[in-house]
């Protein structure tokens, strides 16, 4: 069955703020194998002009995926997660996230459309400090394989 179009424009607020910590940044930098000391050494980061260690550019996917998860688990959205693949990803930065940031994420269902037999589901997440500063915006486009085709089959059998 196709994704519920009534959900276009729906907004999800993160249930609680996310605290960016040195330890989590180090864990993430280690996981992507990036030895840049600006991610792990506060003195290096300060010498580079930052208040504290900064997070790698793809770190905000943690918050963006949480936002996407809030939408995806809603059964009335009718999104078959077992058929989902990550299609596109984009980030637009005001500045890097850094240790000490406390951020909230506002995720909007920005687009739902059929293409070929698939459906494309786009989520835009604005990640702001609790003080209101926009730090980074994430766009996730998910491809739901066969979503549109299955809907046509459903309509066909109903007709």
């Amino acid at each position: 069955m196709a994704i519920n179009r009534d959900y276009l424009g729906r907004v999800y607020e993160s249930p609680q703020p996310y605290e960016v910590t040195r330890v989590k940044i180090r864990e993430f930098a280690d996981a992507i194998g990036d030895p840049n000391p600006v991610y792990t050494d506060a003195a290096t980061a300060r010498a580079a002009g930052y208040e504290d260690v900064i997070a790698p550019p793809t770190f905000p996917i943690i918050m963006a995926m949480d936002g996407a998860g809030q939408a995806i688990v809603d059964p009335d959205l009718r999104l078959d997660f077992s058929m989902v693949v990550h299609g596109d990803q984009a980030f637009r930065y005001t500045r890097p996230l850094r240790a000490g940031d406390v951020v909230t994420t506002t995720t909007t269902i920005a687009d739902i459309k059929a293409l070929g037999g698939d459906e494309r589901f786009t989520l835009e997440s604005e990640i702001r400090t609790t003080g209101g500063e926009l730090v980074v915006t994430s766009m996730i486009m998910l491809v739901v394989r066969g979503g549109a085709a299955k809907d046509r089959d459903t309509q066909g059998s109903a007709a």
């Binding site: 993430f28 002009g49 990803q89």
Partner: protein, 142 residues
């Protein structure tokens, strides 16, 4: 901090040196833990094959992170990145051996923009397939 590469020293066509990033099963386990993405297609061969994949595949975001390193290592300042976007075009297939797979990343300055910014187009390949397309970084140079 500002980038160590100067806008004036860069031309359309300037190439970023190619890098090869290894990816083994253990890297995917570690990335799953760090990112919170525990989709079993990234660590469970039985599950991956049951949904039609040839084997366990890397997280798309892992490939995006590796390709991004080419840019942040080139500019010298990860904070110089203004925009970064990719399309995931093929999976990185990671076999269950000690060698794993490789992601080969190259880049070229495609356009000089205002405000000392340049557009870098990235290419990422693994096992002969283009794993990222439309991979574009906008960076602010010194």
């Amino acid at each position: 901090m500002t980038a160590t590469v100067r806008y004036a020293d860069v031309e359309v066509g300037t190439e970023l040196p190619e890098q090869v990033y290894p990816v083994r099963r253990v890297d995917l386990i570690r990335y799953a833990g760090a990112s919170g993405d525990f989709n079993p297609i990234h660590w469970n061969e039985r599950f991956a094959k049951s949904v039609g994949l040839p084997d366990v595949i890397a997280h798309g975001m892992f490939s995006m992170a590796e390709a991004g390193r080419l840019v942040t290592d080139w500019t010298g300042d990860p904070g110089a990145l203004a925009e970064y976007s990719v399309r995931f075009s093929a999976p990185v297939i990671v076999p269950d051996d000690d060698k794993g797979a490789e992601i080969t990343v190259s880049g070229v300055v495609k356009q000089k923009l205002d405000d000392n910014r340049v557009r870098v187009d990235l290419t990422a390949r693994s096992n002969g397939a283009k794993v990222l397309v439309r991979a574009i970084a906008i960076v602010r140079l010194a």
